[in-house]
């Protein structure tokens, strides 16, 4: 089922116009400053239609993502996808934040459950999960399309937001993941952003599987800024493995002592891997676009897009 919700966001408008869209990713950290986020947003602005702002990823207590979601839009003029996890807030707090986001002009929310607190940096925290991600999508549907909260209480004003969901094509077994995505698209998802992908065949297989839900899908890629990041990603992100050859190529770059040369080598390795990947997805699938999770690695956007778009 295709969501018949209007396209409120530029992201959704571009998707509906069948442009091949690109989104980026911004990650607030354990800081009170926003300089880094704003610099990243400015750097990626020419290349992406919107940027996701992560919400306490890996259950780390970082700055509330609503604030940078708003300030990036206001000060940089780059649309944001406000990520919201259900791990840290019950339905009251989620509804409050959705109302606040609507007031601040946020036009996209990515509704996710979030990594469990025991994986994070405050392991003793109570994991809330009053709602799961499907129930949160349902709540957003009620708020956006019916102007009521979950309990049916009337909302004054409009909530004009498009709803994204996450998907994990790396899931093994894949079938329950696919069925779950189908359920969420029926409830009220406008678009899908996938977990990071390295395997082009697996990505294509997944895209074929979800085609029947007619929900635009952005394939997640994660250009690797350094060997350290690649190694961390390989070890600690659930279900994600960096291909051995790519990891090995990254490892080789690490030994270059000159910082500038090293950066150039890393860029080359990334280009060699991701450029054909993106071209293949663009040419042979019905993917709506690419979600480029190049956190603090914005310099890769220009060469990557020059090659692939």
């Amino acid at each position: 089922m295709v969501s018949n919700r209007p396209a409120y966001s530029n992201l959704m408008k571009d998707i509906r116009e069948e442009k091949f869209v690109l989104t980026g990713e911004l990650e607030p950290e354990k800081t009170t400053g926003l300089e880094e986020i704003l610099a990243s947003a400015r750097a990626m602005k020419p290349y992406v239609v919107a940027a996701n702002v992560t919400d306490n990823p890996l259950a780390m207590a970082y700055m509330n993502s609503l604030v940078p979601s708003y300030i990036v839009q206001r000060d940089v003029g780059l649309e944001t996808v406000y990520q919201m996890v259900t791990r840290d807030r019950n339905r009251l707090a989620l509804a409050s934040d959705v109302l606040a986001a609507a007031h601040l002009g946020i036009r996209n929310i990515l509704a996710i459950s979030g990594d469990h607190t025991v994986l994070g940096d405050n392991k003793g925290a109570k994991a809330v999960y009053d709602l799961d991600s499907a129930q949160f999508v349902y709540m957003l549907h009620k708020m956006i399309d019916e102007k009521v909260d979950l309990a049916g209480n009337e909302i004054h004003g409009d909530v004009e937001i498009n709803v994204g969901i996450a998907a994990n094509p790396n899931a093994d077994p894949l079938e329950p993941e696919i069925l779950k995505i189908g359920r969420k698209t029926k409830i009220g998802a406008d678009f899908i952003q996938t977990q990071t992908m390295f395997d082009v065949d697996l990505t294509k297989e997944f895209l074929k599987e979800v085609e029947r839900f007619k929900c635009p899908t952005l394939v997640g890629v994660f250009p690797l800024k350094s060997f350290g990041i690649a190694d961390f990603f390989d070890k600690y992100i659930p279900g994600v493995h960096v291909p051995k050859d790519l990891l090995e190529d990254m490892r080789k770059c690490k030994d270059e002592p000159d910082k500038e040369k090293r950066s150039g080598l890393y860029d080359e390795v990334n280009m060699e891997f991701f450029s054909p990947f993106i071209k293949e997805i663009r040419k042979t699938t019905k993917a709506a676009g690419i979600h480029v999770m190049a956190v603090l690695y914005e310099r890769i956007f220009e060469p990557l897009l020059r090659e692939t778009m």
């Binding site: 996710i112 459950s113 469990h116 999960y129 349902y138 077994p173 079938e175 659930p238």
Partner: protein, 212 residues
């Protein structure tokens, strides 16, 4: 059955430290089965407490006020003498003994879960007493208890090869188990069903159950 394990020796020592005379109460049902508060463990505790122990008793079901009263009536003197009662049962038993005796109580056990028993020493968390049973919908596997996030519409992105991100991929993902079970039963329509948010007020308001 209510599954318990004993607090650590240090925790028990620290808890008992302020009291000179302690009476020990065991549980004849669940804590006996768990080998955490049966006759043997009560005897061990008495030995550990040494001169502090002024007596002990086994109560068939310390969580049942009538039975606690019945089984403790012959120990009134020992209980009276004691500064505190160490209860080797689940939290419900500890509180019932506290209500009955009016004494300071020391819980020797941690109450873990309502579990099923495979054999002695192998217990599995199976029920959180949520008050809204969905087992008919989920192939007889409880997602509230067995999914680390208690998701009603799982699985989440944290499952890898059917294992859960919580606990370093040692535990099964409840939703993959549910999917497999429903698939075997040719009932995948139930897997696809959207389960709305739970009504937590039901559980919050159910603090007692009185038939008459």
């Amino acid at each position: 059955m209510i599954i318990t394990n004993q607090k650590t020796e240090e925790e028990i020592e620290e808890m008992a430290e302020p009291f000179g005379k302690i009476f020990v109460v065991g549980c004849g049902i669940c804590a006996t089965s768990c080998q955490t508060g049966g006759e043997e463990q009560v005897a061990e505790m008495v030995e550990k407490l040494g001169a502090k122990a002024v007596g002990s008793a086994m109560v068939e079901e310390p969580c049942d006020l009538r039975i606690a009263r019945r089984d403790l009536k012959d120990y009134k003197d020992g209980i009276k003498k004691a500064d505190a009662i160490m209860v080797m049962s689940c939290g419900a038993g500890v509180q019932t003994v506290s209500d009955y005796t009016g004494k300071i109580v020391l819980p020797a056990l941690e109450t873990l879960f309502i579990g099923s028993t495979e054999r002695l020493g192998r217990f599995y968390d199976r029920c959180m007493a949520c008050g809204e049973c969905v087992l008919d919908d989920t192939g007889g596997i409880c997602p509230i208890t067995r999914c680390a996030k208690s998701l009603l519409n799982g699985p989440c992105g944290g499952q890898v090869e059917g294992k859960c991100e919580v606990g370093d991929y040692k535990n099964d993902c409840a939703w993959v188990l549910i999917w497999k079970r429903l698939k075997e039963q040719d009932r995948l329509d139930l897997f696809m069903k959207f389960r709305p948010p739970r009504d937590h007020s039901k559980k919050t308001l159910t603090t007692e159950l009185i038939f008459r």
